[in-house]
């Protein structure tokens, strides 16, 4: 995004602002995120739909709607400013603008073995659990989320609803036929748990690498493209290693005290395996624009083709297993959060 065009655009919307610097957020794979700092110390974040559309197969405007609705609640998010369907600085690709929140998506040194490390990791884990509890106990109906997010009828229906929703998405966006995945969807249906803990607003990917952290506190939840209404276990399965910071049972007990929910172990296990399919679906969806020549970003190939194939192999093993626990134990050993790689996070 050219700074001059962006400055002219922002002045047209915000008045006399002067850009001091523009930095593209790293890695910003799913959607382009630009951090714009003004010379007076304020700033905005410009989030734009990338060429060929985002990797995650949900509409760009949906994420804006989530921000706009969340901003009227107590959930910490950056203040949404406006949505533009046909802006100049991104060459007509839709964008939305939110207020810049000071902080970082990474927590430098969190995994270092230094004095006080255990206490720090515990504090971070508890902070994350507290904020997730706040989100999951939000009255999403009263907040208006039911008007634009399709919700399951009951906690018992939540996982079937998720399965059907993402099966439809998969068959609409997959890059080619994946018979293993078709068979895996049957496996997920055959292993659906009987009930759920609650129906909550869920964020999708969350934790380190996703939110804005400052002084080890979450000051803004970010990136809502995978928001849904469903079983809160789903969010815990996408919590990017937060359960490895401390004894997992202790974190979950703390969360349960805060929410009043009882997370069902079977559901928890189910979502850990389900996440393999959902990740495969989301990543492979981004490959369409690569194949069409609309977006040749290399990570679209390593993720949309390479990681998708790795996940296909995992599912190929899973469909031969009769036990959810066995399947979860198997996939967990292969899942690695790239944000925990210091070459990527710099932390």
């Amino acid at each position: 995004m050219e700074q001059d065009r962006l400055q002219a655009y922002l002045r047209g919307r915000m008045g006399d602002v002067t850009i001091d610097r523009v930095v593209r957020s790293f890695p910003g794979l799913s959607r382009e995120t630009w951090l714009v700092c003004f010379d007076d110390g304020d700033g905005v974040v410009v989030r734009a739909d990338p060429p060929g559309g985002g990797i995650v197969p949900t509409p760009f405007a949906f994420e804006w709607q989530v921000y706009e609705t969340l901003a009227k609640t107590a959930i910490p998010v950056a203040e949404p400013l406006w949505y533009d369907a046909d802006p100049d600085p991104s060459g007509g690709r839709p964008l939305f603008v939110r207020r810049l929140v000071e902080g970082s998506t990474y927590l430098p040194g969190l995994y270092d073995d230094v004095p006080g490390a255990t206490a720090r990791r515990e504090a971070v884990a508890r902070e994350h659990a507290e904020k997730l509890a706040m989100l999951h106990t939000l009255d999403w109906r009263a907040a208006g989320f039911g008007t634009f997010i399709d919700a399951p009828d009951s906690p018992a229906d939540a996982m079937r609803h998720e399965l059907e929703t993402w099966s439809r998405i998969w068959h609409a966006v997959k890059s080619e036929a994946f018979p293993v995945v078709s068979e895996a969807l049957g496996w997920f249906e055959a292993h659906l748990p009987a009930t759920g803990a609650a129906i909550s607003l869920c964020k999708g990917n969350n934790g380190i690498g996703e939110e804005i952290w400052r002084d080890d506190r979450i000051v803004a939840f970010s990136d809502w493209e995978l928001a849904s209404i469903g079983d809160p276990c789903n969010d815990w399965s996408l919590s990017q290693g937060m359960l490895d910071l401390l004894d997992r049972d202790r974190i979950l007990r703390y969360y349960e005290e805060l929410t009043g929910f009882s997370l069902l172990p079977e559901n928890f296990t189910y979502y850990r395996v389900w996440d393999v399919f959902k990740s495969l679906c989301a990543l492979n969806a981004g490959l369409r624009a690569f194949i069409a020549g609309e977006n040749r970003m290399l990570a679209r190939a390593t993720l949309g083709f390479g990681k998708s194939r790795v996940f296909e192999h995992l599912l190929g093993r899973v469909i031969g297993m009769n036990s959810l626990d066995e399947a979860a134990d198997y996939v967990v050993q292969w899942r690695k959060n790239p944000y925990h790689d210091p070459r990527i996070s710099g932390a």
Partner: protein, 142 residues
């Protein structure tokens, strides 16, 4: 012809690791190079084995489908592009059969047997292409 495609690609990977990547400080550029390196690691294997993998898989998939009453075009030869196109068509046919079946445990005995045959084929397919996927794509994706 020497060096082989694999040897050339592996030499590019070595240059990236030892000379180029350590010299790149800019985050997005280094990330692109890591992704490029991962893709090269995949290609080093793929250029050597893909035609054989596709040929074997097309034969296997066609035989499986024929055994289930279909009459697929197994075809032979025609270069890697033709092999890939044939493979895509065969995968679509296998996929359609699986999607038409009830979930495991609710099939008729005939459908259960068909599922057993198709799953056994899928296992063979995954084993065939495994070396093109692992370990290349266990590395850093970006």
């Amino acid at each position: 012809m020497r060096p082989s495609s694999r040897e050339l690609i592996e030499s590019i990977i070595a240059a990236i690791d030892t000379t180029i990547l350590p010299a790149i400080a800019e985050q997005q550029a280094a990330s692109s190079l890591r992704a490029a390196r991962t893709l090269l690691e995949h290609l080093a294997v793929r250029v050597e084995i893909e035609p054989d993998v596709l040929t074997a898989d097309n034969r296997d998939a066609a035989a499986v489908l024929a055994g289930l009453g279909d009459a697929p075009d197994a075809g032979e030869g025609g270069g890697v592009l033709a092999l890939r196109a044939r493979n895509a068509a065969l995968q679509t046919a296998i996929d359609q059969r699986l999607r038409a079946m009830p979930i495991a445990g609710r099939e008729s005995p005939g459908q259960a047997e068909e599922r057993r045959v198709l799953r056994a084929y899928l296992e063979r397919r995954l084993a065939r292409e495994r070396d093109m996927i692992f370990p290349a794509f266990l590395g850093t994706p970006f």
